[in-house]
Amino acid sequence: MTFTRTATDADVPFAEIPFEPDLLERLCRIDTDVVFFPVRHHSPVAARLVAELIVNRQPSAVLIEGPSDFNDHFHELLLEHDLPIAIYSYFRCQESHFGAYYPFCEYSPEWLALRQGNHAGAIVRFIDLPWAGVAQRDQGAHRYADAELRRGKYVRHLCERMQVEDFDDLWDKLIESQASISLEEYFRRVHAFCYHTRLWEQPIGDSDIRREAFMAEQIRLMRRQTNGQLLVVTGGFHSSALAARLDGYRCPGASDDEATSTTDKALPKIEDAGISLTSYSYSRLDNLTGYEAGMPNPGFYEHAWRQRQGAGEYSHQPLLVELVNELRDRRQTLSTADLIAVETTARALAALRGRFHVWRRDLIDAVTSSLIKDELEYGCQSPFVDAIHAVLRGKRRGRLAAGTRLPPLVHDIRHQLNEANLEAKQGVRSVTLDLLEAEDLSRSRLLHRLRILGIVGFERTGGTDFLNRADLTRLWEEWRVRWSQEFDSTCIEASRYGTSLADAAGAKLAERSQTLDRDAARAAELLVQAAQAGIETLSATLLQRLNDLIEEEPQFIGAAGALGHVLYLYFHDEAFGTNHSPQIARLLAVAFERSLWLLESIGQSSGNERVVLRGMQALLETCQRASGSSVAAIDRAEFVAVLQRVERDARKPAAVRGAAAGMLWTLGVADDEQILADLLIFTSPSDLGDFLAGLFALAREVAQRHAKLVQTIDRLINEFGADDFQASLPSLRLAFTYFTPREKHYMLTTLFESLGLKQVKPLEALHVDAVSAAQALAFEERVFEMIARFGLESPPESTDGAAHE
């Protein structure tokens, strides 16, 4: 392998600080007083080699990249936990909660280093800056993700040269898939790779410089304390800078004056900082994406690690067995011939890629190649691909050993329940809350947060429905609280979401939002849940995700439904404190814009006009209310332009066009003449009712008092023959249901007055049964038919105005 030659100093473009062969030489030595072990976090090969190195060289101290504020609790790591677990570091800062994870699984080099170091009697310490100290500059919540290596320009370059697709494949090719790799070779490859990445990344970021300065200081302190060899286990990206700082080499970012301290504005005060262990899972390790990603496919690497730990050789075949089982669980058929095809393809791919055995990417590609018999859209799901990813992800979930400090969330929950007098005791009790009372409201928030986190024993049995908003005269809730033996375990389980209840509930909602796809209505439901649980659960991540979900929504109904919820929370909320909140304002603007966009693409027959009309009402209301408030992003001119296009569009359903006309009328953009002209387009019995339904729904006030409109409708209906009238009846009925009886009365009054009929009397309901009514209708029809046959019908003008009622 010619890896160390793939990039030389001549390749480094724009290098202020050039490549120093001496530094690389220094890094690769293992006989010096300080040995720098470069890791990629969660690399099994690194884990094996670091353990071997500790056994062979018996260093007096092992210094690991990890939060130094956890050193006081170090003994907790030595308990018998089921991995994966994580150190969770958290703090609060001006009402916002922040947290970051340092996850360990059984093949993590950091884990092996600390266990093995402890076993060998060495001093074991974490040496990284506490996370709170860098969080303002570097918000990555997964602290072992190797983001520095992943984003490097050097990586892209090297991937091309090494003919692999991405950083993960590159690492596999260089390190993991090698049948055996010696410590010396590992040091050479990884140090060279990481050092070059650093040279290409100049200037080095502020937070890295600060962290490295801190780590170097810790190493110096330890060197003064002990005599023997020090082993420094850090991400490979930092090794060169640490060596340069300690031994006086030149390296990018290795002196403190490179840090741009001018950006150090007065940072907000950090409160409630803390650190503790928490359980973790492979699915969380694997689900991260982007710079948070870390090493993918933990189940696969665990498999490789375990096989190599046991005396056996690595073989991919047990994974294929798992794949077959997984596919059977998913009810997918896989014939023997298919399995043979997967196996041969995987082997051939491995050979083509220059590997001795079938590796991660080969398996994924073999399944894609031999099992999928259809078009696979980019980024689309296929049961086969899902199954192989599930196998490679693994199902492991961590559990903390008994005797570990209980996670802070559990304390927080107990404390809050106690304060609110809601502790679950034996038996069941029912709690009724009035959401307009401050104390009850805070209890309701507490209960909602517990419900979001899935803590057993708290159930909402009744109350105001904020999703349908049918009856908002009384804002109340009823809860049933009962003791369950699963209470404790669900609390501990939930603690992986955070340390305070609000924080954890927010994280859980954010996670739930990640599972949604192009679904604005569900997104808005999550928003309502967050509002019920208190606005502080609305994290920046969740907001961003809701924002995205609304923007991706493909259906008008979905987007407008979301708009309805957001509109309520922003303008009408009395209990939750979301009224005029700036975060909601942003969502309101997004939902408005998206609904408007989709309104224009509504097709001919959506079938659920009523819901569409409700959505259009929400649009109109948003526009009207926003003009007097702080929602600046809503552009009235744009709104009007869209409505005018919709109104004129002959391919839109009549109801939508009617509604658009109604909106323009209400906004004062369209005049009466325009509306009457529009009405005359929809004189056919199939359209009239729909158009009116739209018009009435959106221009309720103006419509009922407009004499000319009422007269025109009256005339149009009078012109219908009996069949036409019957055909149009259902939609006409629907149109008039938008009015209350009193409004209908006004309307009739308007009509009668305009027709000169001064004597207005309410119509009386006739008490006849359906059969007689039908007979009467049939009789009437026969009479009309006969009149028509003999040409005796009167001209329409002279028909009595109220005849059709």
């Binding site: 003919q163 692999v164 697709e165 011939a337 095809a341 041969t344 393809t345 051939a348 791919l349 083509l352 890629r353 220059g354 990417r361 590609d365 894609t368 190649s369 031999s370 999928i372 018999k373 259809d374 078009e375 696979l376 859209e377 980019y378 192009r518 995205d548 923007e551 991706e552 929504e553 493909p554 998206r594 966009w597 224009e600 693409s601 332009a641 869209v642 296009r645 391919r651």
Partner: protein, 379 residues
């Protein structure tokens, strides 16, 4: 190995062949004869699947390009996707390339055949009128009557030739053939043998020589692969050819190809980066049904492949040269999008208008503004 490498090499074309000079479009093995020869020389001693001219990794270098050995990139796609394609051809299954029209499926199959067999001309064009004769073999009836069935009177079709000489056979647009014609491939792909019942004795069975395999292409718009028989599906590995993932790569390709088309048409106009970016962004957004900022919108029913973008760009260039001052401006693109984007579906026009009103209108920058101003050309 079925044939010695030297024997295969003799049959291969060289770049100096005079016959190809006047051809409108020489086959890939002639066009890139020098590159193939260099790759062949460099990998002469390496193991390869029986019947292959190049070892698999050299095939990969030929298609994707390899700066170090002076091989130009010819196809833009993910490396793992191509690795899968090449490996499929080395196994006992055929390769089925499916995807939207204009994603360079046929071009890819031509490149693969040229690199693997040194011959990309064994091609069956699938259509509603394709018969068994076009695929297997037919007879020269005059000779058949006078001599009876013999090698002389048999007229081999591409499949027969490919099996006999151990080469890749390309089957274009396979799903456009009637199902019973598609199924001719069944026994050939599984047993690798073709029966010629007119012959007696050994000649009755034509056993495929090593190196024979089938690359089929099918597009997802006309009639997808759904109707294909399960038995035949099983004998193919399916690979979806995706549109180019990286916008920068697509821009580069569109700029390069359209400038090439323009110069071939004798039009001294070239596309600026801004214009190309605008065009490619619009095509990508309409194709993916998603704006660059992640807003979803309705997809068009028209095909918006990279090839369409190239022809739009070239048409705009020619327009600018003959009817304007020779600078391609956004309004030229709008005018020629009418022909490519808005083919027959009136809904598409509405979607595009909607796109102009809601997306393009809000973009800043002179090009975008001019593009928006020219929207009336769409009507």
């Amino acid at each position: 190995m079925a044939k010695k490498n030297s024997e295969i090499a003799k049959a291969l074309p060289t770049g100096t062949d005079d016959r190809t000079k006047l051809q409108q479009r020489p086959a890939a093995e002639y066009q890139y004869a020098d590159e193939l020869a260099a790759l062949r020389a460099r990998t002469a001693s390496e193991p390869r699947p029986p019947g292959w001219v190049l070892p698999p990794h050299a095939v990969l270098s030929f298609v994707l390009g390899d700066e170090a050995s002076g091989v130009s990139p010819k196809f833009v796609g993910r490396r793992s996707f191509l690795e899968r394609c090449i490996v499929s051809l080395a196994t006992n299954r055929g390769l089925m390339l499916i995807g939207e029209p204009g994603t360079a499926k046929s071009y890819l199959s031509e490149l693969l055949a040229a690199a693997i067999s040194g011959d990309s001309t064994l091609t069956i064009q699938g259509s509603a009128g394709t018969t068994e004769d076009n695929i297997r073999y037919s007879w020269n009836y005059a000779l058949l009557v006078s001599e009876g069935p013999s090698d002389r009177s048999l007229v081999p079709a591409p499949l027969h030739l490919g099996m006999k000489s151990g080469k890749l056979v390309r089957f274009e647009e396979i799903t456009r053939c009637p199902l019973e014609i598609q199924d001719v491939l069944l026994s050939i792909l599984s047993d690798r043998v073709m029966a010629v019942p007119e012959f007696q004795g050994d000649q009755r069975m034509l056993f495929a020589q090593a190196g024979f395999n089938v690359i089929a292409t099918a597009n997802t718009r006309d009639r997808g692969v759904n109707e294909m028989s399960a038995a035949l599906k099983r004998r193919f590995n399916f690979e979806t050819v995706a549109p180019i993932a990286e916008i920068s790569q697509e821009m580069e390709l569109v700029q390069r190809e359209s400038n090439k088309l323009l110069s071939r048409a004798g039009v001294p106009v070239s596309l600026t980066t801004e214009i190309t970016e605008l065009l490619v962004t619009v095509f990508r957004e309409l194709r993916q049904g998603k704006t660059t900022t992640g807003k979803g919108m309705e997809q068009l029913s028209a095909v918006l492949s990279t090839a369409e973008a190239v022809s739009t760009a070239a048409a705009a260039g020619i327009h600018a040269y003959y009817y304007d001052n020779g600078t391609v401006r956004p309004q030229h693109l709008v005018q020629h999008m009418v022909g490519t984007v808005l083919k027959d579906n009136p809904d598409d026009l509405k979607k595009v208008q909607h796109y102009f009103e809601h997306v393009i209108k809000k973009r800043s920058g002179d090009h975008w503004n001019q593009f928006y101003e020219a929207r009336h050309e769409l009507l």
